[in-house]
Symmetry: C2
């Protein structure tokens, strides 16, 4: 029978790794040969005795390896015809290009908005907090926890948000999320529990957040923005669609940088109170206000009608994926249930580290240091833009009282967004495009968004030089 | 006019914290007084000049504080009638009991299934990995990243899963998730993209996973389990509902502990291949097999039809919320998009730490140590159950070749689940109930599930003693 064996240990190039056990090594080698197609479907394997002799293994070892692979479905043991390779689907080699995913090619001068300077991350202090928090954590910190998040962090946040943002929260009213996107996803789910909700979002605003709302089953309608912020005076009016919630950025409108006017705040709260309606207050960069103290959160004036959302994405960085919702009481149970069905709860170690970081005022110190850093950068940006004598003239800089970005409005008759972005691309400068922020394309004001938080400290002056050259190049 | 002032600084009990600035302090005090209701809606505030004199502040400071609170909506400035407190909704004190949320009262003897021993968490080694990983990380580790997760972790996992579980994966085929629940949520979303999907899950199985599937818009049907594992032979048969996917635990069925029989594996894969169908392979404790080596993953034999899901929840603990999907190529783009719309991506620092932990073989070492620990516990449990001479007799112990739990079947005619659980509750012993795992209640086999991984090492013998007393107490 030996001449009918189509394969042998040698033919198979079975390379047994001496580090693994003999049986395990043989199994891995056979599995790899089958997966790679070197052993084709229906190929017969050598009898156990023969392969054992060829490889210097015991017959029992080979038999055990075959049995294992039969159990896993790689091989089939047929009465009378020995062991054969099972039918497997065609294999292809790994695709080195991967699926879609935003391919994040790093530009030379990164002035994209929405990202803080990664080099500002307080690595040593953070690791100290993580070590302390883990050392002090009880056993329940290592297992499944409350879907709202760790009580240590919710307690620290309740104090911090009350003190710095005027948020009225007890720890049991806070739900920890994986950053803003998940907070918006959970709120959308809860609002649309019985029927799809309609949520108004700012126009211009963040396009991705509109996508997130739609992905989670609700509709989006625009609420226009003017120089006093979102037009909340339109809510409930005859021409405005009926909406159950408004998502907006009152402290520092994104991307125009306006602060919501007191009258508009009042109109918003009145509208929310006059029905079963919700304000989603996106306080994405409320910590960074340069020329006066921060505007307190609307939530403090209407806690039963506002879901306040904050994150560490602009202070410590988006990579931590840590955010929080301070929710009206009637939404707490559904929010906790939605969170549980999304991912049980946010991972605990980062939460414990942040709780320690806040409680020891390392968070305050970090924010103060960042505020100084970003204020200097803003001042440098303004000085540079003002000192330009070259075209395009008439540039208007908006929204620079706070935050990590400026909107440069391009006057009509001058260069368009596309002109500036083309000039920027030619110099490997990345900027944000105002045009991407409108709900609908059309004949809109033109502008580009400069994220002055993004470059690291030593790269910032060169980035400003490059920006200046971009603007100079757009002249006639 | 002074006599008409209804409030004064003294009446308000404004306690200015000397640590904050004067203006900030005044604002905080006013905000707190309004929030607490000490300053009622429509109450008129003292004129700036008067309050300044009373508090020993400059008039400009008081004016600035009033302006700030007008901007925030706490106060209203009325022409001719000074500054009044704005109308605010009724306030209630914080509810100390919080919303729903699973209240996790710690039992004295915790033998609930599904949780590893928290004291086994390798804190020092994990922190070393975190420190090394952060030290080596590039700037992009601190900002928004690929929705599939960090390439460092996906690369480490591709090697690890191929070596230990026979999973066929390149790094670009892996999507990092926040544990199993999110993996199942994302797969459900993707399967139900165009129309609600129907997914078969094991009966008995994990009730919460059925809820997760329904929460994300798909339907669930049962696939029965017998002593050869899930009845995959029924799939596609005349009596079985048409389903687009099967979610199951082939290496160690939960909770019966069966390994899916080779014939059943083949039937499953044949069924998946014969149509556009998906197997969701939940490999929740594939690392822990005691009496023979682990059964390799089905994914290795049918990578185009299996979404393999694993986590660190049983090895390092559920608190880390780290899991992975190895997905067929055609699902990668929709999975990455779903992940992005759920929470952008899983937080990066834990991913980087785990990548380092795997790459340095600390993960292998940890799992080997845990395997020994849990094998010892299983042996102790079996010895204890076998040595019992008291009723109930006829107990059958299932599923103890692997994993962190055993199913104790209760013979008919003897005590019921409820009898055992009542006896356990009386002794503060927490066990799992088989009855909770069925799709539909009814006249089902009775059993309790013992999670022998949950107690910490020194608490385990006492937990076994308590379990013995519970079983003894259930006799006639």
């Amino acid at each position: 029978m030996s001449e009918s064996w189509p394969t042998s240990g040698v033919d198979l190039h079975l390379e047994l790794d001496p580090a693994t056990g003999r049986r395990t090594g043989l199994e891995q080698a056979l599995r790899a040969a089958i997966q790679a197609g070197r052993l084709a479907p229906r190929a017969r394997l050598p009898a156990t005795r023969r392969l054992a002799a060829e490889l210097g293994l015991s017959r029992g070892t080979v038999k055990a390896a075959y049995d294992q692979l039969v159990a896993e479905g790689y091989l089939t043991a047929r009465q009378g015809s020995g062991t054969v390779v099972a039918g497997l689907p065609g294999r292809q080699a790994g695709d080195p290009h991967g699926p879609s995913g935003p391919v994040d090619v790093q530009p030379r001068h990164d002035l994209r908005p929405g990202r803080p300077d990664p080099s500002a991350f307080p690595t040593a202090a953070w690791l100290r907090s993580a070590r302390r928090a883990l050392g002090a954590a009880s056993a329940d910190a290592y297992t499944y926890g409350d879907p709202r998040g760790r009580i240590e962090l919710r307690t620290a946040l309740a104090g911090y948000l009350g003190r710095t943002r005027g948020v009225l929260a007890s720890p049991d009213q806070i739900v920890i999320t994986n950053g803003y996107v998940q907070a918006l996803a959970l709120l959308t789910r809860v609002l649309g529990e019985s029927a799809p909700a309609v949520i108004a979002t700012e126009d211009p605003g963040v396009a991705f957040h509109r996508e997130v709302i739609r992905h989670h089953g609700s509709q989006v309608v625009p609420i226009p923005v003017d120089d006093r912020g979102a037009r909340t005076d339109l809510l409930g009016g005859p021409g405005f669609p009926r909406v159950g919630a408004v998502e907006l950025t009152p402290a520092h409108q994104y991307p125009t940088g306006r602060t919501l006017d007191p009258e508009r705040r009042r109109a918003l709260v009145d509208w929310a109170r006059s029905g079963d309606r919700l304000v989603i207050e996106n306080d994405y960069d409320g910590e960074f206000r340069y020329d006066r103290q921060p505007i307190g959160a609307i939530q403090g004036t209407a806690p039963d009608h506002v879901a306040y959302v904050g994150t560490v994405s602009k202070t410590l960085g988006p990579a931590l994926r840590l955010g929080w919702i301070v929710a009206p009481r009637h939404l707490l149970r559904p929010l906790a249930e939605a969170k549980r069905h999304h991912d049980h709860h946010t991972e605990s170690l980062g939460q414990l580290a942040l709780a320690d970081f806040i409680a020891r005022h390392a968070y305050d110190r970090h924010i103060r240091a960042c505020r100084l850093r970003y204020k200097r950068r803003r001042d440098l940006l303004l000085a540079r833009l003002r000192s330009r004598s070259r075209p395009p003239s008439g540039l208007a800089v908006h929204g620079i009282a706070a935050g990590l970005h400026a909107l440069i409005g391009l006057p009509s008759g001058g260069p368009t967004e596309q002109d500036v972005l083309d000039a920027a691309a030619a110099r490997d400068v990345a900027l944000g495009r105002l045009g991407d922020r409108w709900h609908e394309p059309g004949d809109r004001p033109q502008g580009v968004i400069v994220g002055f938080g993004t470059p690291n400290e030593h790269a910032y002056p060169a980035a400003l030089d490059a920006l200046t050259r971009v603007l100079d190049a757009c002249g006639p």
